[in-house]
Amino acid sequence: MIQTTNLERVFKAGDVETRVLKGITFKASSGEFIAIMGRSGAGKSTFLYQLSLLDEPTSGEIVFDGVNTHLMSAEEKTHFRLAQFGFVFQDYALLPEMTALENVALPLLMQGVPRAVAYQKAQDALTKVRLGERLDNLPSQLSGGEQQRVSIARAVAHQPKLLFADEPTANLDNESSRTIMGIFQDLHRAGQTIIMVTHEDEYARLAQKIIHMDDGKIVSVTVNK
């Protein structure tokens, strides 16, 4: 489904260059649930941003379903993200002026889905994350765990091929974290491909495959049984 070849990311600050990713070659297949782990500064979030086309690699290639994303313009990447990806951010990243329903419906509307259909799909997605009663609440009226569930509903409502999650439980208490991970497991069981960055072993073990990163490189891959 997605593969990278010799992926490098170098940040420049004046004359100082920092190589955050050092030639990562990686492959994920359809339907996999992959956790990326590593200590702080290992490059795991940067790697996720490259995979999800939110950032531009310094060198190397990312190929998704046979399409080389390196050749895409910024506009094409935005469109590609909308059509193929879903993204769950660590801090939920909901739009504060929109209700839960509106937040979830937005990517669908951008895809040109008629409003009534988009709202119905958004409602279905929110019901699946057990927020069917909180459709009209603004993010400020929801708890952290509820906001993250809205974020997941937004990421999956348009049925993306690949779901990215950047430390989705980092800001949550244990109970909320377990709820979120339960939702990820349900999505995976339904066939959703997921790539998740986490620093918590307990949740990484729920994935099929754990990729360990250190100093900008993949140092090991563990397959969970």
């Binding site: 506009e75 935005t78 909308l82 993204f87 509106e102 990517p107 509307l109 951008m110 040109g112």
Partner: protein, 419 residues
């Protein structure tokens, strides 16, 4: 599927609506207040400037020339064939009423009985106008200009009403070229000299007006004036014509010209009769108004630019998130354009209500008292709507530029708050 542009507009509208809906009421109110002030600045400043002169033009029309004025040709002493012309005018359906005037230059003198030989004569140059007081009042409402004493009646022989600028106590400036009578008030006897003929008359009333032709004139009954100047052929010097409501002065002028009236009289609409300097002032004030309006427009554009820029900067993270989840940059830019238009439209609508619901009628009823005119607020609807269009266009551009600046920034940098 919607075309790309339509889709971006739809999403832009969706985002803008929700941003405005959830925005702070105080902030929104303040921005709209600024837009109202900008709108009023655009329309009212130039409207007052033009209104100063328009007030003078309107006053000259209602109080002196009426809708059409027929006057003596430059090389003639009076309008020849006046009785036939008056008869013709009275047959025209668009003519509601006319007033015929006799005019001659004259010298006024006061205190001539008490003056010593060594004293400087108390004199003033003036225009003497002979009128039928009923006709004149019907056409120009001259009786309304009387501020002291009474208006003329048909039998008022040896009585006059006198313009205030012929009396020293009312003259605002003490200029050597501006002669006025001293110590003259109601009931004072003054002497009029016209072409060597002298007549002693009593001041019956004093006229106050913003029209120079009235304030520098002395009015008396036409029959007495005829005997004073010895003109008994019925020829007059001026005919002011009031038209029925809705009749076009230009049309009547053309009718009279086609009848050959121009061979023995000058036919002018009230607009033609305006002095050229007045027309020049109107043009100059229009230009000045446009300059002030342009400054106002720039200020409003900068205001909107700052508002949208600050809004976009503080929402940079959310703009990044929107792009991150696949919302097109143009849709986000359009959302800011909609917000700018919202502020401009709200400001303009409130401004329009204030303008036509309050300012125009209020200033119309309580004109601004300028020395040379009763200033009104001139705000023709087409011109105002043009300025509304300008305001919306300027705010649209002013809203788009900062939005584009922020939207173009790197998506991830925006999400992570990196510079």
């Amino acid at each position: 599927m919607l075309p790309k542009l339509a889709l971006n507009i739809r999403i832009g509208w969706y985002l803008a609506l929700r941003q405005v809906r959830q925005a702070s009421g105080w902030t929104t109110g303040l921005i709209i207040f600024v837009m109202v002030l900008t709108f009023l600045n655009l329309v009212v400043v130039s409207g007052i400037l033009v209104g100063l002169i328009q007030g003078a033009v309107d006053a000259a029309r209602t109080e002196y020339t009426s809708d059409v004025i027929v006057s003596t040709l430059n090389d003639k002493k009076y309008i020849e064939n006046s009785p036939n012309l008056i008869a013709l005018l009275k047959t025209l359906p668009e003519v509601e009423h006319i007033t015929a005037r006799y005019q001659e230059g004259a010298t006024l003198e006061a205190n001539y009985k008490t003056r010593k030989d060594t004293d400087k004569p108390n004199t003033a140059a003036a225009q003497i106008v002979g009128i039928n007081p009923t006709d004149e009042n019907t056409v120009t409402g001259l009786a309304h200009s009387i501020t002291e004493g009474d208006y003329l009646a048909l039998g008022d022989y040896d009585q006059v009403i006198i313009g205030q600028y012929l009396l020293k106590q009312y003259v605002p400036v003490d200029s050597p070229g501006f002669s006025a009578l001293d110590n003259v008030s109601l009931g004072t006897k003054i002497r009029i000299s016209v072409g060597g003929v002298k007549r002693e008359v009593i001041v019956k009333g004093i006229l106050k007006s913003k029209v120079d032709e009235i304030t520098r004139s002395v009015y008396m009954i036409d029959s007495q004036f005829r005997s004073l100047i010895g003109r008994n052929d019925g020829n007059v010097d001026q005919i002011a014509i009031k038209l029925v409501g809705g009749a076009d002065p230009l049309s009547l002028r053309e009718t009279l010209l086609r009848s050959g009236v121009d061979r023995y009289a000058k036919v002018q609409t009230y607009a033609d009769a305006q002095p050229q300097f007045l027309k020049d002032i109107i043009d100059t004030f229009n230009l000045l108004g446009s300059v002030f309006s342009s400054v106002g427009l720039i200020v409003s554009s900068i205001t909107i630019f700052i508002v949208i820029f600050i809004n976009a900067i503080t929402r940079r993270k959310f703009i990044g998130i929107l792009k991150g989840i696949g919302i097109h940059g143009h849709a986000i830019e359009i959302s800011y354009i909609f917000q700018s238009i919202f502020y401009a439209v709200c400001g303009s609508v409130i401004g329009l209500v204030l303008l036509y619901g309050f300012l125009v009628p209020f200033i119309g009823q309580h004109p601004i008292d300028f020395p040379f005119s009763d200033g009104i607020l001139v705000a023709p609807l087409d011109g105002t709507l043009f300025r509304v269009g300008l305001l919306i266009l300027a705010t649209l551009v002013a809203g788009y530029i900062p939005a584009r600046m922020i939207v173009r920034k790197n998506t991830l940098d925006s999400i992570l708050g990196r510079n």
